[in-house]
Structure formats: C-alpha cells, structure tokens
Symmetry: C2
Subunit: 396 residues, 2 copies
C-alpha cells in the first residue's frame, strides 16, 4: 500500500503534449543545431524585459532598506502596489477599483487557482470555452469543482452562445473568459460578450445566485492594430479579473500578477475575503516582495509588441499564401491553423519530419487544429517558411 495522492501523482507524472515536444526539441536541437529547428511549441515571451525594469531594480536596491525591500508584505499585497494597480486600471478603464479590491498573486496561475477555490465547494461547475488553456481543468478540478466546456463557432472562433445557454445549470458558479485567447489569439467581440452577459444575468436571476465571470487576461496588453479588448468588469458586475505581468513585462518566471474583484460584484467584500482565505489555504503567504515594488513603480509600462506584430504578419501572410487555413490572431502570440489531416497529433508528428514543432490542439479542446507560438525570432520564422511549404506539399 502506498501513501500518496494518486491524482497528484497523475498530475506530476503525465507528460503534456507541450512537454513532449519540448523534450523532443531538446534532443533534436543537439543533433541539428538550434538554428535548424523551427520550434514553435512554447509560449515564452521573446521580447526582452523593458530596460525600465532593470533600472527599477537598481534604484530599489540603492534606495530601499533591505528588510523592507525583501520583507513580508501584507497577505493581500503591499498597499502602495495595490493602489498603483487600481489607479492604473481606473485611469485606463474607469474601473472604479480601490486598493482593497486588489489581491496580489504569484502570477495568473495562482490568481486562477485561488479564485476557483474561493468561489467553489465540491461539485460546483465552472464553464470554460474551447479553445482553452489546458491547465484550467487542473486548477478547477483541484479546487473540487467540475470543469464543463462549451464549443466555439468554427467560422470565427467566437463563443457558441446557444451551446453556452444549454450548458448553464444551477450548479454553475463561474464562467472563465480568456480574451485575447490562448491558444488561438482571437479577441472576443463586444457583441459576443454582451450577449453572454445577458444570458448570465437571466440565469443568475433564474437560479437565485450570482454566476461569476472569471476573466483571465494575461494577454490584455498584447493586441495589434488597436483592436479594443472589452473590459469585462464594466460589462458585468459579478466579474473577477485575473492578471499576470508575465507576458507584458516578459517576466514569466517571476510570478507576479493579481486578482481584482469588481466592487460592483454581489457580496464583493465577502468574495474578496474568500480570495484572501483561499490564498492562505493554498500556501501563498504573499506575492514576491521585490516584484511587488517593481509593479508599484511601473504599473503602466507596456511591452514592445512591434516584434510580435511583425512575426504575426510574416507568419500569417506566408502560411495563408501557401494554403494553410489560419485563424487571424488579433492578440497574444499564437497562430492557430487547421491540421492538414483529421488527426492533429499525426499532423504534428509529420511536421517534425520538417523540423517544425507545433502543438496539436486536442488538449485545448480544439482537435483538428494546431498551435504555433510565434514568440520567437523573426529570422527563424522567415527560414521556417520553406519547411512549412514542404510540409503542405507532402499532403498533396
């Protein structure tokens, strides 16, 4: 007999398809050299961190007493950091947030895990929309709730609202929105969201309890051509926003982000207290102190997304021209393409023959598609085009 939790063992020992590509890439790189491998499997920012961040660390080291700089903050986060975050959101979106609506976290994964735990008891349902970030299912199940997925509209990758309506039940406690979307880069249109909110209002009234929107927005700042990303908290009161600075500051390893509870949410102060309690219960004492102080000083620093835009334009243009069916990405740094055979896993394996590493999207809830992460260097994308062409022609 053994004494470990089998579900946790499963989470720790099962190798995700992304991890599998990563391991294959490591081996293949050793054989043919990094330059010759077209690895589009990982969603790691490729734009250097803003130089302001480095300068900020230097000044903090100079100006701040070490015990303050690296000391505990309050569990919800340093007051000045929370104020800077709230002020920034208010200035940009007229959000009406105060410091006590913000809870600083170790990145978006922590923010989501904490929020799911705060909102749910056993067997509550949380709705996710395909294509979705696969870890949602892990975080939701780990909170004791049940993830239920709703399909997308194949034409434009917006939410299938009829299917959504049919999926809601009195057990539904929350709905996760992720726009710009991982893995397909689509931004949900305001019209889609308004209709979704209308359905939620109707069903909340029918069920007699709020259905919260958990808005996961790590790519909010990575949008092209000025597309508007609707600020969901302003469309629907029962909204909890989860944010990470990983992508916008290119600091994914530093684990800094926040939960923002709309002050207009039902029982907002109770929801906020439950968020604090869930953070405590999961072992999050406070978000990393130095990075909280960086956020306090740089709340409005925006990433240099020109690099990603150039990558997107080159890749989307070239692959479309070759004949691939591509979903046009308005944000994030992913291109979603239709697999050239029904089984996207086989397609991704064949792509390996051309030294292209993709991620088949079955685990994202979109079988038949593959994800290309174009957060890599422009020249590598340029050199990969003939390989994509040869892959395409291999299906003729």
């Amino acid at each position: 007999m053994n004494c470990i939790n089998e579900q946790m063992y499963g989470y720790g020992s099962s190798r995700s398809v992304i991890r599998d590509q990563y391991e294959y890439g490591r081996k293949r790189r050793a054989e043919i050299g990094d330059d010759n491998l077209f690895d589009f499997s990982l969603g790691n920012p490729s734009v250097p961190t803003p130089s302001a961040l480095r300068d900020c660390v230097m000044s903090l080291l100079d100006e701040t007493d070490s015990l303050t700089l690296h000391g505990y903050t309050s569990a919800q986060g340093d007051f000045n950091t929370r104020k800077a975050v709230a002020d920034n959101l208010n200035a940009r979106f007229d959000a009406g947030l105060g410091p006590d609506d913000i809870y600083m976290t170790c990145g978006a994964a922590a923010a989501l895990s904490i929020t799911f735990r705060a909102l749910n008891d056993s067997n509550d349902e949380i709705i996710i929309f395909a294509p979705y970030f696969p870890e949602y299912k892990v975080f939701i199940s780990s909170a004791g709730a049940v993830p239920v997925s709703v399909p997308f509209v194949e034409k434009d990758f917006q939410i299938d609202l009829d299917a959504f309506r049919a999926t809601l039940s009195p057990e539904t406690h929350a709905v996760v929105i992720n726009s710009p979307n991982t893995p397909c880069g689509v931004i949900y249109k305001e019209s889609t969201l308004l209709e979704l909110c209308a359905i939620l209002r109707e069903k909340s009234a029918e069920y007699g309890h709020p259905i919260y929107i958990v808005s996961d927005e790590p790519y909010r700042e990575i949008v092209y051509n000025g597309e508007a990303v609707p600020f969901i908290m302003n469309l629907y009161p029962d909204t909890i926003m989860c944010y990470s600075y990983s992508k916008c500051l290119s600091v994914p390893g530093e684990r800094i982000g926040y939960v923002a509870v709309s002050p207009r949410a039902s029982d907002a102060s109770r929801v906020y207290a439950a968020v604090c309690g869930a953070g405590r219960a999961l072992g999050y004492v406070c978000a990393p102190s130095l990075f909280q102080k960086i956020i306090e000083r740089l709340p409005g620093v925006m990433p240099d997304i020109e690099v990603y835009r150039r990558n997107r334009d080159l890749l989307y243009g070239s692959l479309s021209e070759i004949g691939y069916e591509c979903v046009h990405p308005d944000g994030a740094f992913y291109l979603f393409i239709k697999s050239l055979e029904p089984d996207a896993v086989k397609f991704s394996l064949r792509a390996r023959d051309f030294d292209i590493l993709l991620v088949p999207a079955g685990s994202f809830g979109a079988p038949g598609y593959a994800r290309i992460a174009y957060c890599t260097d422009y020249d590598r994308i340029r050199r990969s085009i003939p390989a994509f062409k040869a892959l395409f022609e291999s299906y003729r």
Copy 2:
C-alpha cells in the same frame, strides 16, 4: 444564496491573534511613537539581508540575458539551482541528494502545502506536535487531511512520546517535525528523535504503509552555541524536508524555498512526482526565477546570527532574573514564557498596559504560554526590561 466557499471565507475573514496585535500595534504606535512600543509580536527577520545578496542581484542583472534571468524555469526549478541545493546539503550532512530530489518552491508555506497535498487523500491524518505553527492546521485541512496534535513535555518542551504512540493510527500518513521550533525555540534532542523514529518504523510495519516525516526546517541555520540540529533525513528514510530561505537570508517576502524528498524514502520517485503534481494543482508554476538564480550562487551563505544571540541572551537573562519562567531557546528567534495568570490571552492584554505586545500561545497549542519574538533591535529590548518588570510586579 451565495456562491463562495465558506471555509475560504472563514480563513480570509478571521483575524488571527498575531494579526490582532499587529493592528493594535499600528494604532498604538501612532499614539506613543514607535520607540515607546515594545512590539514582540512578529517573526520578521531583523538582520539585514547579507550584502552578498545585493551584489549577486547586481551581477545577475549585468551578466544574464533578461529572458533567461526572468524566464520560466522548469516546474521543479532550474537544474543548476537544484544541483547547488543538493550539493550544499550533501556537503554539510552527507545527505545523498540529487538535483531530482529537490523541488524549488515559493517558500516553506508552499513547500508544506504542496507536500501535504501530495501525501494525502481525504480524511488521512497528519500529526503535529505542540507547540506548533498555527498555519499547519490550515494547510493540512486545506489538503483534505485532518490535523491531530500531540502535547509536549512541560519540563523541557520535548515531544511527549507516550502520547505520540497513542495518537498514531492506520490513518496517519505523516508527522510534522519543526526543529528549531516555532514558537518556543527548542531543538529536539537526537534521543527524542531516535525514539520517535523507532516508533514510526514499528507502526509503519504494523500498518503496512510508510508514515512520512515532514521536516519543516526554516530555522535550521539560526542556532546558538553550536547546538547540533539532527538532520532527520539521515535518521529516518521516509523523510520529506521543507525549507525556506526567508529567515537565513532575511528575505521572507521573496518566497523562495524547497522540498527535498529523501532518495531513501519508500517510492521516492512516486512521492517526488506527487510533489510536482501537487505544485501544479495548486497553481505554482515555478519558484521565482531571479531568486532561484540567487540561491544557485549563494547556497552556503549563512545569516549573521550574532545579533539574535545577543538579543536572546539579554532577554532570557533579564526576564529570568525578574522571575519569569522562560523556556531556554537554542534556536530560532522566539522566547516562550509562562503566562503569569492561567489565561494567556488576559495576560497579553495586561501586557498591552505596559506597551508590551506578546502573542498568547493558545493557537500554538500551548495555552498558558506567550511568545516573544526577539527579532528586533537590541536597544528596544534593553528599554523594554523595566516594562517587563512592572508587568511582573503588577501580579504581586
């Protein structure tokens, strides 16, 4: 009807006795000035971070590409960091650890939460020894397990081994050891631990499953007069060590620590995988990247504990002389004293009249005692002695 988790709401809205003293202290400080308040309520390191840490950050910023410095590490932690940690433990304790036995975490609270989750299913029992860190109960309950406490021997604050034996059951999956101990500063003697391990071996055989020791060691480096802190992993194979750099590097806000799974544990590789899985399930993507790289470069930096030792000697000597019954602390930075009346909460309230802030130890499983955190400046301790004397005399 509401849609939040009531247990989490409870964790987030109940004010701990430490928090209560903190809030009182904030108000009182405004009234009488910081210099006149003898606040011994918080366990925040008071020794500045070693200058080597600041230098290390500067060199890392100079020498390391920003995407590497702040990028994702693997979920278990950067290989070089894990190797440095393992090498350091091997050099000091001949621990036989490899990099793949180490899992880097966001501090000890995360390490404990992850370990409890990895080892337990619903209703398993985890034994804790009074006096204990109150958050153990939160972390254990949150992992779905049941915390069961065992009393201490009043004479020397060692473990009551008869009570321990009587508390073990087939449902016991783990036992938490914390030495040097929070909140009383006592180091468990090797003889105590050897006997405890013998009982665990006997009961593991009887129940047909391993009973793990979870060894929580954030104060390992803070010991005085060269007292030996037995390295539990070398005494008992089924040991999982949880460590934090918060105290030894004075960086409690940065959240950096690790789990070390003994390679001699039953099913060690499965336990390690479950630890990885639990980290994933709780939303811990990786430990903060910059601080992982600092640990890689400074694995053996030791704190300047001379400051704490002087504080201890002054406080222990003076309070004993006044007449307080004090537990002699061999490590950590806490002094445990016997309350001057049966109810330590009332005693702590009366101490406020003398502007002394203590923590009554009921929530530590030791009613009738109070904790004095002497991680403060020497001069404040010196100035507090007359107040302690007046408090003592008020009970004549």
